[in-house]
């Protein structure tokens, strides 16, 4: 059961231009959160931004009762959030999302992320690493946007980093490297979060090669708790019937076979 609480900001770090990591103190959220969950954050008390901002959880530190999230400044809301200081309280709803990544013992998994979509994959990789071989593929537009290399290095057996323009590490799209590795041995599961073109490519690759695949989606959100039914995503069931589900309530993580994106 999620909670609504004022959580103290206990850490703040600028990772690169426009990208911030915040650490907040919450015993309840740290205890309840699972890889794939997100938070609905009220960035300020002002009405300048009316809605909360849904931001996925990057890291759960249960020992210290701390939860971390990373975001990119993209508009008014995240601009205000980036100005918030250590010691201040943020009103947070969380952890949210009933559809989280399927965590269990795997022989080998592939985790693929792109851009700001890599953040929720860290907690997943960290959790899976305890019992599975984790191969991680992260794609960025260019060198300036590359973050968290060391962190992902620690939680991956193999880490491939790519940039679209080749300005850092491998040149090309992360999925090409995933495809290449799959030729030798298929992973038991693929987990993905990133821009829509990447998710679509991962979805078709997973389905074509019969590798169970989970995608973490995003959509403009109202409440985050399934009440307003704003964050709709079209899904189809086994009989091919199409129906809207909600990213906040049924997701944000969906089976790749289920969603029409």
């Amino acid at each position: 059961m999620p909670i609504q609480a004022d959580c103290k900001i206990v850490g703040k770090e600028k990772l690169t231009t426009g990208i911030y990591k915040f650490s907040i103190k919450s015993k309840e959220i740290a205890e309840l959160a699972k890889p794939g969950n997100f938070l609905e954050i009220k960035v300020s008390d002002s009405l300048e931004t009316f809605l909360r901002r849904p931001i996925s959880i990057y890291n759960i530190d249960r020992e210290n009762e701390v939860v971390e999230f990373i975001f990119q400044v993209k508009g008014k809301g995240t601009e205000i959030l980036a100005e918030r200081k250590i010691g201040e309280d943020l009103n947070i709803l969380g952890p949210l999302g009933n559809g989280t990544f399927s965590v269990k013992h795997y022989k080998k998994v592939a985790i693929i992320g792109g851009g700001i979509g890599i953040y929720p994959l860290y907690e997943l990789a960290k959790t899976l690493k305890e019992n599975s071989e984790v191969n991680t593929y992260l794609g960025f537009r260019n060198k300036d946007l590359v973050t968290l290399e060391e962190e992902f290095e620690e939680v991956s057996d193999k880490l491939v980093m790519t940039t679209d323009d080749g300005s850092y590490r491998e040149k090309g799209f992360a999925i090409e490297f995933l495809k290449e590795d799959c030729k030798a041995e298929k992973p038991e599961m693929i987990f993905a979060c990133g821009p829509l073109p990447m998710l679509k490519a991962v979805q078709s690759f997973g389905i074509e090669n019969e590798i169970p695949t989970e995608l973490s989606l995003e959509e403009r959100m109202g409440c985050g708790i399934g009440a307003c039914v704003g964050c709709a995503v079209l899904t189809k069931n086994k009989d091919g019937e199409e129906k809207y589900k909600y990213v906040c309530q049924h997701g944000p993580v969906f089976n790749a076979k289920e969603v029409i994106i």
Partner: protein
């Protein structure tokens, strides 16, 4: 009282004690399940938001089987907001009212005002004759429950539909629904919402709602439920001074799931600090300049 943004109460039960609410007005419900619009369905604005959900709902049968028993566990009144399905015909309005008349609900609110469905209900909601015709037809079959008519603000003169509802025998009117609005993504040169326009709600529309509640309350004699951007207890007081007998909280529930109970406490605080013993003395107490 609470509105559409509360779904069928289930999503908010983790955050608020539903027993503390005077009533829950359900999400708009139609006879048959209705799929909503394509995403994006939500856009934020200054002091508010727009939506084009499209009245997505699981249908009356599902509501009766699943949501109603859930809601009945709580000590609160259940008012079902209903509409005439995707077609929005009078026959559909009448049929859902006929069925609700025999269900274990405390009241029915007919929605003549959703801006996000293509055909139907909006056309009835904007004129005296249209509101009167559909209200009268619903009234005829809704013999054992109170009938509330929810009005659209997208009209030139709100007193006309308000009178139409009253003359057709409605027990109360509620207003305002959302205002038709548009937001453009200037990088893409396209509206953000999938169907281009949507309904604006939140504090941005409150002054319009207060004005319309005042006008409606001073033309129709039946009780007025005021809503539109209520975020605080002070907002409630303002609506009641304008002539609302009761109020409903909508968008605030999306931002603060505990809003409803907090607002009730704030109203009580206002009454205490102003020496008001009976909330009814506030109703229609505004002195015009």
């Amino acid at each position: 009282m609470h509105h559409g943004t509360f779904g069928y109460g289930r999503n908010h039960k983790d955050f608020v004690d539903l027993n503390q609410l005077g009533a829950i007005i359900t999400k708009g419900t139609s006879l048959k399940p209705k799929q909503g619009n394509k995403p994006p369905r939500i856009a934020e604005t200054s002091s508010g938001m727009m939506n084009c959900i499209g009245l997505e709902n699981p249908g009356l049968e599902y509501f009766g089987a699943v949501d109603l028993p859930f809601l009945r566990q709580y000590d609160t009144k259940i008012i079902v907001n209903c509409f005439g399905g995707a077609e929005g015909t009078i026959e559909n309005y009448v049929e859902i009212c006929r069925q609700l008349n025999n269900m274990d609900v405390d009241g029915v609110e007919i929605n003549l005002s959703c801006p996000n469905v293509k055909a139907g209900c909006l056309a009835y909601g904007t004129t005296y004759e249209g509101v009167k015709e559909i209200t009268a037809a619903c009234r005829k079959v809704l013999t054992s429950k109170p009938l509330i008519v929810k009005l659209t603000p997208n009209v030139t003169d709100i007193t006309l539909p308000a009178k139409g509802a009253e003359d057709a025998g409605a027990d109360a009117i509620s207003l305002i629904n959302t205002l038709t609005a548009m937001k453009i993504d200037i990088e893409k040169r396209r509206p953000i919402l999938s169907i281009n326009t949507g309904g604006l709600s939140g504090p941005a529309i409150k002054p319009i709602a207060v004005r319309m509640v005042y006008q409606a309350a001073h033309s129709a004699k039946i009780p007025v439920m005021g809503l539109g951007g209520i975020m605080t207890g002070e907002d409630v007081i303002e609506f009641m001074m304008a002539g609302a007998t009761c109020v409903s909280v909508g968008s605030a529930n999306l931002v603060d799931p505990k809003a409803s109970v907090r607002i009730i406490e704030e109203v009580e605080d206002f009454m205490k600090s102003h020496g008001i013993d009976d909330i009814n003395t506030i109703i229609d107490s505004v002195q015009m300049n």
